[in-house]
Amino acid sequence: MPQDFPNPNNEALRSSHRTTVNTNGADDMGLLTRIQSGDQEAMSALFDRYGTMVYSVALRVLKDTGEAEDVMQEIFVQMWKNPSAFVSGRGSLGGWLVVVARNRSIDVIRRRRFSEPVELFALPSSTNLAQEAERNSLLEKIRGVMLSLPVEQQKSVELAFFEGLSHSEISEKTGDPLGTVKTRIRLALITIRKALNV
């Protein structure tokens, strides 16, 4: 087994994936349930909660405010049309939205059809960003950890995440050996996980 992939049967490790932040997951689920009933106020509340985060990710990838808003709108409209796409018990809605925002933005860059697989995969019940205070706190912490990474690791991670490049593409772009790129990304992820206890 790859060493950088934890053994899912390790109970202790699984429990370490839960953050120490007090969260109220029911808030997100409650909103989604109301949205499913056609409650536009609930939709508005959901947007207030996660709109900035989604927009920021899209903007970071696309570097264009218009396109970033388009992506953000599409995500929330889709959420309105089909709230059940995020299945209850699949973990953090905020985290899920961030990944979707990233993927949709990459799709725009590559001019491909919107990818769908993210909706099909479960996120563990770890980070929950329903509470604004905890959310802001966590975002600050994450940002700090990223900025503390060695420049090469940070650059590799950002190329992979915010520009959607594969390891090979990063290697080609930077001129670094493929193995080096893979190692940098793996080390960066390990550092992030340790720092955030995720």
């Binding site: 934890p6 927009y55 929330f76 799709d107 993210v118």
Partner: protein
């Protein structure tokens, strides 16, 4: 996962359905993605973004909820959109009618084709037979024998078979005396209606004195009173030159 082709995606998904370890590993990766995504510097929303979204939300219908074990219910007949329902039936009926018509047409064509093939086979057989007959009558290798009642020297003799309806004539002659190189025998059809003799073909005897005229171009429907043979110049003639060297009726 975006790096995978749709086919690869399907393969991976199929594996993930079976492998809990890989599902967990992939989930871990998504956590990583979520965390990294959250490291993006938080930027203020564009002016009016919220209002634009909610305006769009107000105009966007929600998709019907499908429960995991829900059975898709088809609306009752009377609940269907009557505006287009009957058109659908009409279209279906028309399609069926066209299909039936085309199918019948196809059947008839096949029948006709089969019949044509039979006729072709028959005609081919008849053509073979006719060729065989012609060969037998005209081939240099065919033996021409004149039968007589006594041992008298054989005289020139000819035999004509004529079918007036088709204007078909077969003439076979034997024991013919040779003619000079600038001359030829010519056969004549003497019409029963008293009109002028019709040229029926040129012939020259071979070494054995035999000759034949097979299906010369003759008008149809001319009843023949008699047939005659004259000797003409090599290129033939449109009117017989006396004397008539052979005749018969």
């Amino acid at each position: 996962m975006q790096a995978l082709t749709p086919e690869e995606n399907r393969d991976v998904q199929a594996h993930l359905d079976e492998c809990a370890y890989c599902r967990a590993a992939l989930s871990e990766s998504f956590v990583d993605l979520a965390v990294i995504g959250m490291s993006a510097e938080q930027r203020a929303l564009p002016e009016g973004a919220r209002e634009r979204l909610m305006e769009r939300i107000a105009k966007t219908p929600q998709e019907p909820v499908v429960t995991p074990r829900a059975v898709t219910e088809f609306p009752a007949r009377e609940e269907r959109d009557q505006g287009f329902g009957w058109l659908g039936w009409v279209a279906a009926a028309a399609a069926l009618a066209i299909a039936a018509y085309l199918g019948y047409g196809n059947f008839k064509l096949k029948e006709q084709l089969s019949e044509n093939r039979g006729q072709i086979a028959l005609l081919a057989a008849q053509a073979d037979r006719a060729q065989e007959l012609t060969d037998a009558l005209t081939s240099p290798a065919a033996k021409q024998v004149t039968l007589t009642e006594s041992k008298q020297p054989a005289l020139p003799v000819g035999h004509a078979t004529y079918l007036s309806k088709r204007g078909a004539l077969i003439f076979v002659a034997s024991n013919l005396r040779p003619v000079s190189a600038d001359k030829t025998y010519e056969l004549w059809l003497i019409p029963a209606n008293g009109k002028a003799p019709i040229p029926a073909g040129l012939f020259r005897p071979d070494a054995s004195g035999s000759a034949s005229v097979i299906l010369p171009p003759l008008p149809e429907g001319v009843e023949a009173k008699a047939f005659g043979v004259t000797i003409e110049d090599a290129q033939g003639s449109t009117t017989p030159t006396l004397p008539i060297v052979m005749a018969g009726q």
